[in-house]
């Protein structure tokens, strides 16, 4: 069985700042893969590299066996065209810390947008699926609401439904609960838990250690642009081997 995501020596710099210093990891299909670490450790940047929102400077990144953002012929790498990058992203859903819903569209229109525009689906088909997805995240009654009329937790659940509408094979979560009021975190985690049980491959950058321990299949602790420690969440979180992991966990747990 091939890995869903494979990273080989991934490096990324923003100008003089070296953010990722050689990341190697593998995410298996149907796995819930958690990325934890202090802020500035590069975990969000790495996540954004997976769907080519950031270009990597060195190394190789594969999603479902395909090189991300490039085409290799012999020894030469060719940058993919705008359209080809877009086609790759179709199969990768992403959920952002700040939701990034489209404010000029209702919840239903947000979910329908990509299937209609990208997959050229009929509006009727897209609307049916969008309604089903909103129902799945518990927001069937908010379909006609605009994002400003929804709470943060509701917005994030719409954002998850929007990503699922493209029927992705991989979902990326970039600190999905960090911008939420504490009492709204639970409803979003419930949706994610449900999604994990349905067998979706998920990469989750999070500070919710409880979620990681309960739902995660694998966990990587990153610090200063490198993987410090990895393993099953239960092992890493309860019995960290590395000094930096211990120091971090003692602050967040």
């Amino acid at each position: 069985m091939t890995a869903m995501v494979t990273a080989e020596g991934v490096h990324k710099s923003f100008g003089p700042t070296h953010v990722l210093k050689g990341i190697d990891l593998e995410v298996a299909p149907r796995e819930v893969f958690c990325l934890v670490g202090p802020s500035g450790s590069g975990k969000s940047t790495f996540l954004r590299c997976i769907n080519h929102l950031e270009k990597i400077n060195a190394g190789r990144l594969y999603v479902d066996g395909h090189l991300v953002g490039y085409r290799q012929q012999g020894n030469k790498l060719y940058e993919l065209k705008d359209k080809e990058v877009a086609a790759q992203r179709k199969d990768i859903g992403m959920v952002f810390q700040r939701f990034n819903l489209f404010p000029h569209m209702t919840a239903l229109e947000n979910v329908m947008e990509a299937p209609v525009q990208v997959k050229r689906e009929s509006k009727a088909t897209a609307r049916e699926r969008a309604k089903r997805l909103l129902d799945r995240v518990g927001l069937a009654d908010k379909a006609s609401g605009y994002p400003t009329q929804l709470s943060g937790g509701q917005q994030q659940r719409v954002a998850i439904a929007r990503a699922l509408a493209m029927e992705p094979k991989l979902m990326l979560f970039d600190e999905p609960t960090s911008a939420l009021d504490p009492e709204l975190v639970g409803e979003v985690l419930d949706v994610m838990r449900d999604l994990a049980q349905s067998g979706m491959t998920m990469i989750v950058v999070t500070h919710e250690m409880g979620f990681a321990r309960e739902v995660g299949d694998a966990l990587v602790f990153m610090d200063d642009g490198a993987v410090v420690e990895s393993g099953h969440p239960r092992d890493v979180l309860t019995n960290p081997q590395h000094q930096r992991t211990k120091a971090f966990l003692s602050k967040v747990l």
């Binding site: 769907n51 929102l53 705008d82 359209k83 877009a86 086609a87 992203r89 179709k90 199969d91 990768i92 859903g93 992403m94 952002f96 700040r98 990034n100 819903l101 489209f102 404010p103 000029h104 569209m105 209702t106 947008e113 990509a114 525009q117 990208v118 605009y146 994002p147 400003t148 009329q149 954002a159 929007r162 990503a163 493209m166």
Partner: protein, 322 residues
């Protein structure tokens, strides 16, 4: 939550600040405040001064040598109405040219291609840096330096035949406007949060589609109000086209006054037309802005018609409630 049949004496406390159950247990009902309002004598004084000055102005006009009868006589005369139509026509067309070209220039200016962005900068530099009156004269007199317009196999004609007052006015006003619109559109595009572009890209939408479906509709909220101002400005700036013989309102006012020898009366006539057109457009602008406010405010503001209907049918309401 509270069961109305349950006795529930505990939640019968008086609401708001005031004596609670601790301390003195005298449950005094809140008394409405009756205070003597602050006096504002200076408001009366300033109102009186303004009214007095206004009265003087009216008096001055009433006694001025103005043939008031000329105003209704010429207001709807054929030549004036036709000129008003021409003013509106050149305004709408020049704005249209300005908006379309402005969007193109804004996208060029924001593009990664150094040649296109430098060209857009150069365009904006020239057309914002020279007076529009001069630009009108340049277009109108183009025949002096280019005697024929030769578009290869497509089109060929004498420049003086092509560059009619209408064409020169359209190019002069429209191309000038494009420079200003480019800056307005650029500001609008840049006001949209980068997260919107990222979310759109992450869904697999291409750059062009992201611009059309996600960025521009949101940028419209920032673009529309200044564009409305530009339109109203254009209604008035179009009067400059009189110098190149375009028969718009101000040109016609001048022409008629040359024969009836009452220029001030004619200027009042066209002032009425300009005011009428700008007023009507202000209402249109309100509705356009309301349309693009969708999703940015929780509750859309009422239209004047809705307000009117509500005021008529809901009857008198208590003061202070909306």
């Amino acid at each position: 939550m509270t069961d109305p049949t349950s006795p529930g004496p505990a939640d019968k406390q008086p609401a708001g600040p005031g004596p609670s159950k601790t301390g003195a247990a005298t449950a005094v009902p809140p008394e409405a405040i009756k205070a003597i309002p602050v006096r504002h004598p200076w408001r009366w004084v300033s109102a009186a001064v303004v009214l007095a000055l206004l009265g003087l102005l009216v008096y001055a006009f009433a006694n001025a040598k103005i043939e008031w009868g000329d105003v209704p006589e010429y207001l709807f005369s054929d030549r004036v109405v036709e000129a008003a139509g021409n003013t509106l026509l050149i305004t709408v067309l020049a704005m249209l040219l300005g908006v379309v070209l402005g969007i193109v220039l804004a996208i060029m200016r924001l593009s990664d291609n150094p040649v296109t962005s430098a060209f857009a900068n150069l365009y904006i530099w020239f057309f914002r840096g020279t007076p529009v009156l001069l630009q009108l004269l340049l277009w109108y007199n183009l025949g002096l330096v280019f005697q024929t317009l030769n578009l290869g196999p497509l089109y060929k004609n004498e420049m003086t035949d092509v560059m009619t007052p209408f064409v020169a006015a359209l190019l002069g006003l429209g191309l000038n406007e494009a420079a200003y619109m480019a800056e307005i559109v650029r500001a609008g595009i840049q006001s949209v949060d980068e997260g919107q572009t990222e979310a759109s890209h992450a869904l697999g939408m291409s750059r062009g589609r992201t611009m059309r479906r996600i960025v521009l509709p949101q940028a419209m909220r920032v673009i529309v109000p200044p564009t409305g101002n530009e339109f109203i400005n254009m209604l008035k700036t179009s009067s400059l086209a009189m110098v190149i013989q375009y028969t718009e309102l101000t040109f016609v006012a001048n022409e008629i006054s040359a024969t009836n020898l009452n220029p001030m009366e004619m200027y009042i006539v066209v002032a009425v037309w300009y005011l009428a057109m700008t007023s009507v457009f202000s209402v249109v602008q309100y509705y356009i802005e309301r349309h693009y406010a969708k999703g940015s405010v929780r509750q859309l503001p009422l239209t004047p018609m809705q307000k009117l209907r509500r005021n008529i049918f809901s009857g008198p309401r208590m003061k202070g409630t909306r």
